[in-house]
């Protein structure tokens, strides 16, 4: 896959220091014959309340990413369709809501919580896992922490991962870092990632691009998926 030019989403936070770091960024391969798409935490809870500003939704929907979640949805739907058309496995990562797995409620972060309706941890309808697609249930930030995700990646023969999901600065970021640490080339598809506030989203994407993975835009990802599909699988 040829790399797209550096995505524009962080352009407005760049200063000279950051431009200097971007200029020094090493080339990082995102080639792979057997790519997998991993989607992290795309459940109803983060879309709750609709495509509205987070500050307006917070009172009633404290976990919602509002307008940012909904803005990412069309691109994510397109990415899922491209992956399925190219026979690229999709792995859905979501939260394990079984009460017995955390009776004392040790939460993954320090946010003071009102107990949400556990039904809101259902994956967004438009992104629902299809028959035969793997779902990984987790209790902590990274999709790998305490889960068999690594084992399934091995069994699929995965050699490259497209990663999307939320929050960009939280579970998505942690999953990218762990995937890269395990040796996988990772392409983060920026159109499929979102957060509750733009600065944290942009700076995490920038960190991921500088230090760990390659951030690409939707067109680059779907184009690469289509190209892999017509070229046939090795």
């Amino acid at each position: 896959m040829t790399m797209s030019p550096a995505p524009a989403s962080w352009e407005d936070v760049l200063d000279d220091e950051l431009r200097g770091l971007l200029a020094k960024r090493p080339e990082r391969s995102i080639e792979g014959k057997r790519p997998v798409l991993v989607a992290v935490d795309l459940y109803d809870l983060v879309y709750d309340g609709g495509p509205l500003p987070v500050v307006d939704l917070m009172e009633k929907y404290p976990a919602s990413c509002g307008e940012f979640a909904w803005a990412a949805l069309p691109g994510t739907i397109e990415l899922f369709a491209a992956a399925r058309a190219a026979n690229i496995p999709i792995i859905h990562v979501t939260y394990d809501t079984r009460l017995e797995t955390d009776p004392k409620k040790y939460h993954p972060t320090n946010r003071k919580r009102r107990q949400p309706d556990l039904a809101l941890y259902k994956i967004k309808d438009e992104l629902t896992p299809q028959q035969g697609e793997l779902v990984i249930y987790k209790k902590r930030a990274s999709g790998f922490f305490g889960t068999p995700l690594s084992a399934f990646l091995n069994e699929l023969g995965a050699d490259m991962i497209y990663l999307i999901g939320e929050s960009t600065s939280g579970c998505l970021r942690a999953s990218v870092i762990e995937a890269v640490s395990y040796g996988y080339p990772v392409a983060v598809v920026e159109d499929g990632c979102f957060d509750r506030y733009p600065l944290n989203h942009k700076v995490s994407l920038l960190d991921l691009h500088l230090k760990y993975a390659t951030v690409v835009d939707l067109a680059t990802a779907t184009g690469a998926m289509r190209a892999a599909s017509t070229a046939g699988k090795a």
Partner: protein
């Protein structure tokens, strides 16, 4: 203790950002019997944002040593260990991932040392320190960071990383606020 948002990221905060993150505001503390984990950076990195981090971290390490608290050093092949020199009895843990926990024996070291929490210092904040703090929280450790004891390659990366960690994963305070808590502690 200072107000929750009254730390080095204050100049990037907007009212909306404060509001969006308000649910993370809480009381902060350091567990007695915490271990101090020093994230030694790769010596090739140019830590220009808060370059005095090592002097501040040394003060923290000295205070922890005086209390007999466990000290662990997370290192990479390019680390310059003369910056914060490990004592002979202190564990040195190779870092194969930006998280000091992942692919290492750090968790075993902390359990054997009966560490009641983890105080993290080092660099870069937006790289290994953050990744380690996220995993420390994932492992269920009460985690704390003193804001002067971390450094980075870029100021904005340092501030946003410390902000993110302070809200979601660790108790962030100043060194002046942390030292009395460490000195009141003992193994």
């Amino acid at each position: 203790m200072r107000a929750f948002e009254d730390y080095c990221w204050r100049d990037i905060l907007t009212p909306d950002m404060t509001l969006v993150y308000s649910a993370y505001e809480r009381e902060r503390s350091v567990n007695a019997g915490s271990a101090v984990l020093v994230i030694h950076p790769d010596g090739n990195l140019d830590i220009t944002a808060q370059p005095g981090w090592a002097k501040a971290a040394q003060k923290l390490v000295d205070a922890a040593r005086a209390q007999g608290l466990p000290i662990v050093h997370s290192v990479v092949p390019g680390s310059d260990l003369s910056v914060i020199e490990p004592a002979p009895n202190e564990a040195i843990c190779q870092r194969a991932s930006d998280s000091a926990f992942l692919l290492s024996n750090l968790e075993a070291i902390l359990t054997r040392a009966r560490a009641k929490g983890v105080i993290i210092c080092g660099a870069p904040m937006s790289g290994a320190v953050r990744a380690t703090a996220v995993e420390a929280k994932s492992f269920g450790h009460k985690t704390a960071i003193a804001e002067e004891t971390i450094g980075d390659e870029a100021s904005l990366l340092l501030k946003v990383a410390l902000f993110d960690v302070a809200h979601k994963y660790a108790d962030v305070m100043s060194l002046d606020e942390m030292l009395p808590l460490v000195r009141a502690s003992s193994k």
